[in-house]
């Protein structure tokens, strides 16, 4: 008599791949901040001013980190490492939100921040191992507090909600662009093609260090790069399943 041994299907493969992914080649990143500026312009990110910036309140959704090794004259700067929301498959920020304000999109496999649901407990930011969430410490975009916003607001992207004080925010992988591309593709009755659109940071990057696309399709550029031998996931040991792959080393 044969009994079928049932192995539980953990669907790990699907979980590990996600849907959208990004590859950052740190060997190419020149730290030029074009991605930071592009991100700020695309996503209506407020500037916080000198004092708040000095106190760790700047709201960059993407930042380039760099460290030093050695001492002069043998000093070396590590490669610039753009740090942005890793859109973790198992995001530590999500379960800790009591209001379901940061949740996992089941359709886009992204880590969503639902601004209008956020009550500002900031637990998600505490629990983010990558420290990539930024909080609206003040009403930075309120023209009553900052008269210049009345004019600067002309540039606001209508596809992205303008956040007010007390709300957490973070990189969305330019979900508004994802939606736009999907909507266009759907209206034309086709799938979104690789390279048809990209995130604001990848679009701006003069060094082509950032690649974005479907990481679950093996033929896309991004998934080919992500599987290169230079690929590293940041803090992978935490089991967060980050969707951003860093290409390290020469």
């Amino acid at each position: 008599m044969t009994t079928e041994l049932k192995i539980p299907e953990y669907k790990l493969a699907e979980e590990e791949s996600g849907k959208w992914g990004m590859v950052v080649d740190t060997d190419l990143c020149t730290g030029c901040q074009a991605c930071v500026a592009a991100c700020a312009m695309e996503n209506n990110i407020p500037y916080v001013g000198e004092e708040d910036a000095a106190y760790g309140r700047s709201m960059h959704w993407i930042r380039t980190e760099r460290f030093w090794e050695g001492e002069y004259p043998e000093v070396r700067m590590t490669d610039y490492q753009p740090m942005l929301c890793q859109q973790c498959g198992h995001a530590p920020c999500e379960p800790v939100c009591p209001a379901f304000a940061t949740v996992h999109s089941q359709s886009e496999k992204l880590n969503l921040q639902v601004y209008n649901r956020c009550v500002g407990t900031r637990y998600c930011a505490n629990n983010c191992p990558y420290q990539v969430r930024s909080f609206n410490w003040r009403d930075y975009q309120d023209p009553r507090l900052r008269p210049e916003i009345t004019i600067l607001a002309n540039q606001f992207n209508p596809d992205v909600t303008v956040r007010r004080r007390g709300v957490m925010e973070k990189c969305t992988f330019c979900i508004q662009r994802i939606h736009k591309a999907q909507d266009l593709a759907k209206s034309e009755g086709r799938e979104v093609e690789d390279g048809e659109f990209t995130t604001a940071c990848a679009q701006a990057c003069p060094a082509n260090a950032i690649t974005f696309g479907r990481i679950d399709h093996p033929e896309t550029l991004v998934s080919q790069l992500a599987h290169s031998s230079r690929g590293v996931h940041h803090l992978e040991e935490l089991g967060t399943l980050p969707r951003v792959t860093y290409l390290k080393g020469g």
Binding site: F100, V103, S105, Q106, S107, E108, L110, L112, V114, Y115, N116, R117, D159, V160, T161, V162, T172, I175, Q176, H179, D183, K186, S187
Partner: protein, 185 residues
């Protein structure tokens, strides 16, 4: 009996009850006043939707954006004029004076939208039309109203109930249609 009631009212529990009742009445009243203040500002032109719909003008003629993009759009004054310039009454009617004036001065109308969602909701008309919805499913039958009104409270529960229903049993569709990131980003 009346006396007993009076006594009870004068007792501590009675006071508490009276205060609670008074508070509830007051809050209800405040809420009612608050809601009644939500009345819309008057539209620049008392545009009779029923008349235009009755004359056979299609919704998409004036609001063509609904079929191809996020916003259905409001007709330009030129578009109004396109038809109205051929109607003799346009030159005489008092009701249409704002249109004549706007056309002459080059000014714009400032309409008061009735069907609106908060700005953290990214609503896109196109997929809704593409999914086979008709305008009246959400906006009501415009042939029945003179000045446009919003027939429903456009809140998330209302959106969701339709989304869930439309998904049918299709799990993938259901996930997409109830995903937070579909509307909020």
């Amino acid at each position: 009996m009346v006396r007993r009631l009076f006594e009870w009212v004068m007792s501590p529990m009675g006071w508490i009850a009276v205060v609670i009742v008074a508070l509830s009445v007051f809050s209800l009243a405040a809420f009612g006043i608050y809601r009644s203040q939500q009345a819309l500002k008057p539209q620049p032109i008392q545009f009779p939707h029923n008349l235009h719909v009755g004359l056979g003008v299609q919704c998409l003629y004036c609001h063509p954006g609904a079929a191809r993009g996020p916003s259905s759009g409001l007709p330009t004054i030129n578009k109004c004029w396109g038809c109205h310039q051929q109607i003799a009454k346009t030159q005489t009617s008092d009701k249409l004076k704002p249109l004549r004036d706007a056309m002459a001065s080059g000014a714009n109308f400032v309409w008061v939208p009735v069907a609106k969602v908060p700005d953290f909701v990214h609503f896109n008309h196109r997929p809704h039309i593409a999914a086979g919805l008709n305008c009246e499913n959400c906006h009501g039958d415009m042939s029945q109203v003179e000045i446009a009104e919003n027939p429903q409270v456009m809140n998330m529960g209302w959106c969701l109930s339709c989304h869930k229903e439309r998904a049918g049993g299709d799990e993938e569709k259901f996930i997409k249609l109830t995903d937070c990131g579909t509307c909020h980003y």
